[in-house]
Amino acid sequence: MPSPIAVKTIIRKEWAELYKNTLVLGTVVFLPLFLAALPLLILWASGDIMGGTAEAVGSELPPQMGDLCRGLSSGECGQLLIVSQFTLFFMMIPLFIPATIAPYSIVGEKTQRSLEPLLATPISTVELLLGKNLAAVIPAVLATWFAYAFFAIGARLLVASPQVFSRLFGPDDLLQVLVIGPLLAVFSVDLAIMISSRSNDARVAQQISSLVVLPIVFLFIGQLAGILVFNTLLTYILLLAAFFIDIILTYLSVHVFDRETILTRWS
């Protein structure tokens, strides 16, 4: 069993270092705020436009999207359709933040040559990996949820009607942000650790690791272009995929990274 003290010590150490890294800290704080503010801005701007001109919106919709709007006025529907696209942003945050934090945490050990003394302590490799994982996953998840709460409060004030609000925060959306988000964060950090193991430059590792957000970007573009709709089915597929990939990656990293491998790869 991993010792909570060891894991906590690693997490606190990582955060103390993170706190001194303005670049990474800035990303962790401002990216979520920006991504939450953007849809709010659109909501606010759309408040006036979505007066009444009904058919103009409804008629261009693909049939699946029409389902979403059942019972709503066309103005409400327009607002819902535009803003609901942005829930995807809240899955980009948990992918992006670990990809920013983790490379510094791994490459930092290499460039500072601090790993060997660390591995000489009784800490187990599982505790070390767990600490480094959580040190990136926790801020990512908290930032995501915080941004989402910010978005929810803002949306409540800005949406056309309570119906729009309740559909904007339907079960799929909550599943995406509350469950899939953390799973994606774990995926992202595992990937970033593997990439960083093979790099000596935190920035390069960070850039490569950040490509992890691309699938969500593609989904977003596909949705905007009307090619696909992020519906319940897709949500469950993503949930299962993220879950199994996490299990596989975690299994791999625990088995690949024994002490000696960490010492030679990370230093």
């Binding site: 890294n21 601090s114 003394p117």
Partner: protein
């Protein structure tokens, strides 16, 4: 305290033949002694320490550290050893005190804060405890690294080239500190390629280059290896002369090269006249007498450069 038997480490390398870094190392380090592990760069010193501190696995052979078997009780070994690694990295953005407290916690030290304070004070870093380590000089970093290695009061301390890369003043301070540690009951395993350092600090020295070449006290080593050598040029060397000289009680070793007689002994000033008398009595004609001077360096280099020496 440390016991190894045929400890061997072979590195598998991509696209190159495997490299034997440590071969059949068998040593016994006693409790409380400062054991010097002396060898040139690439001799396998760091590899040996890493195996004994359970950082890398031996390819074959056995090692007992503080009574625990490497490969079986690694956790117990890690708790009972402290290690000053060859390049002791610190978390540069964190303070000296925080750096130490991380390790105090990972080692499960009971009163971490008190222990951190004790060593910061002992090494004269207390006033700088809140400063980021990145601002420290090399000497200060090395002292902090020593504090880190000692924070959990290990019974065995591994020091890998503790003064390498330090300026003379910092090196002197670090040596003085190690010298203070001596006699506190701790067993110290000191890797170095600095002869003088080994000579001054160690109770026993192992000379090592992939394989163990010799191990003895500095005094005995000097006597055996670094002893003084006097050369007697004779007109002719008669048979039996070498044995006759060897038979003198103060002569450690005698051998002949052409018509020169090489005699190793501790105190030529006192005993050369006796040798000369013996040679003359045996009918030898002495042409010249001189001392062959080897520096410690020379003898050591000769030792590590001749693989057959044991």
């Amino acid at each position: 305290m440390i016991h190894t038997e045929n400890l061997t480490r072979i590195f598998q390398r991509k696209g190159e033949p495997p490299l034997t870094a440590v071969e059949n190392l068998s040593i016994d380090v006693r409790r409380g002694e400062v054991f010097g592990f002396l060898g040139p760069n690439g001799a396998g010193k760091t590899t040996t320490i890493r195996m004994l501190a359970c950082l890398i696995r031996p390819t074959s052979g056995e090692a007992l550290v503080n009574g625990y078997r490497v490969g079986e009780d690694n956790d117990a070994i890690r708790r009972s050893v402290g290690i000053l690694t060859e390049t002791p990295g610190m978390y540069d953005n964190l303070s000296a005190a925080y750096n130490l407290s991380i390790f105090a916690r990972l080692y499960g030290v009971d009163d971490a804060d008190a222990q951190v304070e004790k060593y910061l004070r002992m090494l004269g870093l207390w006033e700088r405890r809140h400063d980021e380590v990145g601002e420290f000089s090399k000497g200060m970093r090395q002292k902090l690294a020593l504090a880190r290695a000692l924070i959990h009061e290990p019974e065995i301390l591994f020091l890998d080239e503790p003064t390498a890369g330090l300026d003379p003043e910092a090196a002197r301070l670090v040596r003085a500190f190690i010298s203070d540690l001596r006699g506190q009951g701790r067993t110290i395993f000191l890797c170095t390629h600095n002869l003088d350092e080994a000579d001054r600090l160690c109770d026993r020295i192992a000379v090592f280059k992939t394989r163990l070449l010799v191990v003895d006290t500095p005094t005995n080593l000097r006597r055996k290896l670094f002893g003084r050598q006097v050369v007697f040029h004779l007109r002719a060397l008669s048979p039996g002369l070498v044995d006759r000289v060897m038979g003198l009680p103060f002569v450690h070793h005698a051998e002949s090269i052409d018509n020169k007689l090489l005699v190793r002994l501790a105190d030529p000033e006192t005993h050369n006249p006796d040798i000369i008398r013996a040679l003359v009595e045996a009918g030898a004609d002495i042409q010249f007498v001189g001392e062959l001077r080897y520096s410690l360096e020379d003898v050591y280099l000769q030792l590590v450069n001749t693989p057959s020496t044991t």
